[in-house]
């Protein structure tokens, strides 16, 4: 294939990929051939440039006009250059595209582009005319001919999306800049409303979300990313702390709407139920345990996420009209076939991944006294059962569950808590803040160590033998593979050991089902990535039981996606990707070549929340992180650059 110009991005000419570009972003971008099956992509236009895939089908003048019209329709109207400047630009381009333009109009367009890109308040304005000017520079003849000959340009077909890096990073695609904007205006209920468009568990997310958004935050390139998580917590706390609780009304179920069953009242199940209710379906949830919330309740300790917070948020769906059947375990009390027989037209399986993974080392079977998988330990702690059996504990693993186990053990009064992890500190998958807080609380870290043998006495755990590890070559995940160092074995005496090295799905509940769901070789429920359809008609699955143990927000996103799929399935009989998801796919392809630089003035430090002092907090399960004060929330919201950006795709239909 010969090398041709694909387009302009970041002021760089992007050419079609050469063979040596195989692994680069350009290949990913060039592979973007179809927007939807049978609907080819002709061109892509965005905040920093454009790409043309099929010259013959692209009308650059019309595309520029279409892009400007979207920008004008999205401009928030606060600052003058974007509000009026993009209007002027849109009018100029309309005039040109209708064949009424003059040479001066092209000059005016450049002039106004300068004001808009230099003078605007937020990134939407800064990037508004970038691609239009690129088009003007790269295709001068077409614009010139249009104005001199008065050519009329018919309107083509375009798909557009307004998004932002933080929005795209969020699995649920919450409109983050918008709710931050509302906080800035002091309109907290409206801000919460924006969050609850998609996320019914705002206060939960505001406390324990792993913050994909903050890692994508462009402010992070200047100084620190915006404290998005705590801003979300701030607005949701306003409602939690209100003297008079306002709960949503019971939703009006559409008459004759088909019944939907949700199995599992965890974050995925609750979110799916919430959105299905909003769409007018009657929903019943079947929950194996005695409380709703799933891992948010059983897996996360109270000092990070108080039980009351989860409870009051789950109440939202019950007050909307969801029926939750507690202590109903799939496989024991009912089967999917039963549900279908009872008249449920669609089923969402969100049973999570609750089984702990063993260490596969001698001494583990049969389990000695004091040995408990980490996730079961957390479950017992959260259920208020007695688990303490001594004065020292070893936790194996480097993820967030391991951190939760360590810090919970400490709070139970266990004096010595050791953490054993086979790689180095940098490689720990746990949230860096969690690691920091755990160390501050006095957890003893043993890095680059791995347990080799449990030492027991009369069926009771007395210690664990570990071996030192050396980091070798990077493996498939890019992390260096640990290799045991011969003869470096040492013993950590302990009364308890909690492995927290992963979780499995209890697929036994699916085994005896009349309807058989396919299970992958990883032991997860097999479901389509995009539609969440399983091998069984009308049955959808999502959350940890499909992805393996993941995060709260990913589970919630699966719930949201399931609700859309179920809605489509029940209305039209088949499931297809939404426009929004298709555009996100284009966005990711474009981001593969995007080299972002933030041309703004930094220097405003992030507002950090207060933590309770270590001495005070290690003795109880009360919440460690305190929320932002209204003043700090305002200053933090002020730091948002509002990196809204517009993506346009020219297609056939």
């Amino acid at each position: 294939m010969t090398e041709t110009i694909l387009g302009i991005w970041d002021n760089q000419v992007i050419c079609t990929p050469r063979p040596e570009d195989e692994a680069s972003g350009i290949t990913k971008l060039a592979e973007l051939r179809e927007y939807a099956p049978g609907n080819p992509v002709y061109a892509v236009m965005g905040w920093d440039g454009y790409f043309i895939y099929d010259q013959a089908h692209v009308d650059v003048v019309d595309m520029a006009r279409a892009y400007m019209e979207v920008v004008q329709g999205e401009s928030c109207g606060k600052c003058v250059p974007c509000r009026m400047g993009t209007r002027v630009a849109a009018d100029l381009l309309t005039r040109i595209a209708e064949g009424r333009g003059a040479q001066e109009d092209l000059d005016s367009l450049r002039k106004v582009a300068d004001v808009v890109s230099q003078g605007s308040l937020c990134e939407l304005g800064h990037s508004a005319l970038c691609a239009v000017i690129d088009l003007l520079n790269q295709h001068p003849d077409e614009f010139q001919r249009t104005v001199t000959e008065g050519i009329r340009h018919p309107r083509g077909t375009y798909h557009t999306k307004v998004t932002a890096p933080c929005v795209e990073a969020c699995p649920e695609r919450l409109d983050i800049p918008r709710y931050i904007e509302m906080i800035k205006a002091g309109h907290y209920p409206e801000s919460l409303e924006v969050i609850e468009e998609k996320n019914p568990l705002a206060a939960v997310c505001g406390r324990v979300c792993v913050r994909f958004c903050e890692f994508a935050c462009r402010r992070g390139k200047l100084d620190d990313p915006i404290s998005i998580k705590h801003l979300k917590r701030f607005v949701s706390d306003v409602r939690l702390d209100a003297a008079v609780k306002i709960m949503p009304d019971k939703v009006h179920v559409v008459p004759d709407a088909p019944l939907v069953a949700v199995i599992g009242a965890g974050p995925a199940g609750v979110t799916a139920a919430y959105h299905l209710l909003r769409k007018g379906y009657p929903v019943e949830i079947f929950e194996a345990s005695g409380a709703a919330g799933g891992m948010a309740v059983w897996g996360i300790p109270d000092y990070r996420l108080p039980r009351d917070v989860v409870r009051s948020e789950v109440e939202i769906i019950t007050s909307m009209g969801a029926i939750i059947h507690y202590n109903q375990r799939l496989g024991r009390d009912f089967s999917i076939a039963d549900l279908k027989a009872r008249g449920f037209k669609a089923v969402f399986v969100a049973i999570g991944a609750q089984l702990g993974t063993g260490l596969r080392i001698p001494g583990e079977e049969p389990a000695p006294e004091g040995y408990l998988p980490g996730i079961e330990f957390l479950h017992k702690v959260n259920a208020g059962e007695a688990v303490k059996a001594g004065d020292s504990a070893v936790i194996v693993g480097g993820g967030n569950v391991a951190m939760d186990c360590c810090r919970s053990a400490l709070r139970l009064g266990i004096r010595q808590v050791h953490l054993v992890y086979r790689r180095g500190r940098e490689e720990m998958p746990a949230d860096k803040l969690e690691v920091h807080d755990a160390e501050e609380e006095g957890i003893i870290f043993h890095m680059q160590c791995n347990p080799t043998r449990l030492i027991t006495e009369n069926g009771k755990l007395t210690g664990v033998e570990c071996v030192r590890m050396i980091l070798g070559e990077p493996d498939a995940t890019g992390r260096r593979r640990p290799v045991p160092q011969e003869g470096s074995e040492f013993i950590i005496p302990c009364d308890m050991l909690f492995p927290a090295i992963g979780q499995r799905i209890d697929t036994s509940c699916l085994a005896d089902d009349g309807a058989s769901l396919d299970v992958t070789k990883h032991g997860t429920v097999a479901a389509d990535d995009d539609t969440l359809l399983t091998s069984e008609e009308g049955v959808f699955a999502g959350g940890d039981c499909v992805s393996g143990p993941a995060t709260l927000i990913q589970a919630m996103a699966a719930g949201l996606r399931a609700s859309n799929s179920i809605d489509q399935y029940l209305k039209q009989g088949y499931v297809s990707l939404s426009d929004d998801e298709r555009m996100s796919r284009v966005y990711r392809a474009v981001m593969a070549v995007d080299e972002d630089s933030v041309q703004r003035l930094g220097g405003a430090a992030r507002k950090e929340v207060t933590l309770r002092p270590v001495k005070e907090r290690v003795d109880d399960f009360d919440e460690v992180e305190q929320g932002l004060s209204p003043e700090d929330a305002l200053l933090e919201a002020d730091r948002c650059l509002r990196c809204y950006r517009i993506l346009l795709v020219a297609t056939d239909k």
Partner: protein, 362 residues
């Protein structure tokens, strides 16, 4: 002066238009420029509000930063080199003004605040002519009747430059927060938010009106304000309650045309609905201008000496006939503390009764 909050006050050295300047941490570039008599045009800035950064007139350049920044929102930092007056900035500000005027009507003579308008001052300063206007021709948006949060105020969307001062004043001064930007792009207006379950409701304080730089918000029942240069401004104290808010009465001819906020006083310029809108009694035809005594069923105008003698005689007669406790005094909340003190002194010490009360207790 609204400054950004900081932990400690530090000295900061910066260069402003080539001159070394000393500033305090927490000051914005605009604060420092004004302290040093460097002119930076502003439109949305008000020293009573947090800086907004929406009008984009106060853009300045900082060496090492690619984009111009708004001086009203940018805090100074050590070693900053700021340029407030370059050809690029001048161009940006001029073009920006032209963009504002694509929506704002160009008929100053018929506007109430002709001569006291911040936008007009800038148009004059930057010498924007009709010729300039034709560069950016757009179809003027056709705004219909747009109700404001209170019927006391009329909103003119065409005049509105969407600086957002009214929105901030509503949130920050009145702490009500009923106003918000509504709509998108060039059709954006300011409007009250939908009444919601959280019960935010306009209290008709008129802080929005007082903060408007271009008279897009006018009193619905107001009279013509008179030319700015012919209006006398009289600083006085509001008579409605004992708080003692300072306000300015604008007098044209011998008529109070409107109330505007003063820059000081206990209220720091803030007023309530009564203080701001309830001035029509001053020129009202039914207003009592001298004491009156009813004689033979008819009210008769008398002077103060006659009136006071009449009251004193009656008081003395009642006291002699029925005793001092037959008398009682009711004072007004509109009086100051000192006046109320003297009033009770009169009743207790001179007339000899403890029957004294005050209307605010009723």
């Amino acid at each position: 002066m609204v400054t950004l909050r900081t932990k400690e006050l530090r000295r900061i050295h910066l260069t402003l238009d080539g001159k070394p300047v000393l500033a305090r941490s927490g000051q914005t570039i605009l604060d420092v420029a004004r302290e040093n008599d460097v002119y930076i045009p502003t439109l949305c800035y008000s020293d009573k509000l947090r800086p907004l950064g929406t009008c984009r007139m106060c853009l300045v350049e900082i060496e090492g930063t690619a984009m111009p920044v708004t001086s009203c929102t940018t805090p100074v930092s050590e070693g900053m080199v700021v340029h407030t007056d370059t050809a690029n900035l001048d161009n940006l500000r001029r073009e920006n003004l032209k963009l504002i005027l694509t929506r704002h009507p160009y008929n100053c003579p018929s506007c109430d605040i002709n001569g006291a308008c911040e936008l007009q001052d800038l148009v004059y300063r930057y010498d924007i002519s009709h010729q300039d206007m034709h560069a950016y021709q757009i179809k003027p948006a056709d705004f219909g009747e747009t109700p404001w949060a209170t019927p006391l105020i009329t909103y003119h969307p065409r005049r509105c430059i969407l600086c957002g001062r009214c929105v901030s004043a509503c949130t920050e001064i009145a702490e009500v927060g009923v106003l918000a930007y509504k709509g998108r792009g060039s059709d954006t207006i300011i409007a009250s938010t939908e009444p919601n379950e959280f019960g935010r409701e306009c209290i008709s304080c008129g802080e929005c009106l007082a903060s408007c730089p271009v008279d897009a918000l006018v009193e619905a029942n107001g009279q013509p304000k008179g030319k700015a240069w012919e209006t006398k401004k009289v600083k006085t104290i509001c008579t409605y309650c004992g708080t003692g808010c300072e306000l300015i009465l604008n007098v044209s001819g011998n008529k109070v045309t409107h109330v505007s906020p003063s820059r000081g006083g206990v209220n720091q310029g803030a007023l309530c609905a009564k203080g701001r809108f309830g001035y029509d009694f001053i020129n009202h035809k039914d207003r009592l201008r001298s004491p009156m005594i009813r004689r033979d069923g008819y009210w008769e105008e008398v002077n103060w000496d006659v009136a006071l003698d009449y009251v004193a005689d009656k008081f003395a007669a009642i006291k002699q006939r029925e005793g001092a406790d037959a008398l009682a005094g009711l004072s007004s909340a509109r009086c100051t503390n000192e006046e109320n003190y003297l009033f009770q002194k009169l009743f207790r010490g001179v007339l000899g009764t403890n029957n004294v009360d005050h209307c605010a207790r009723l």
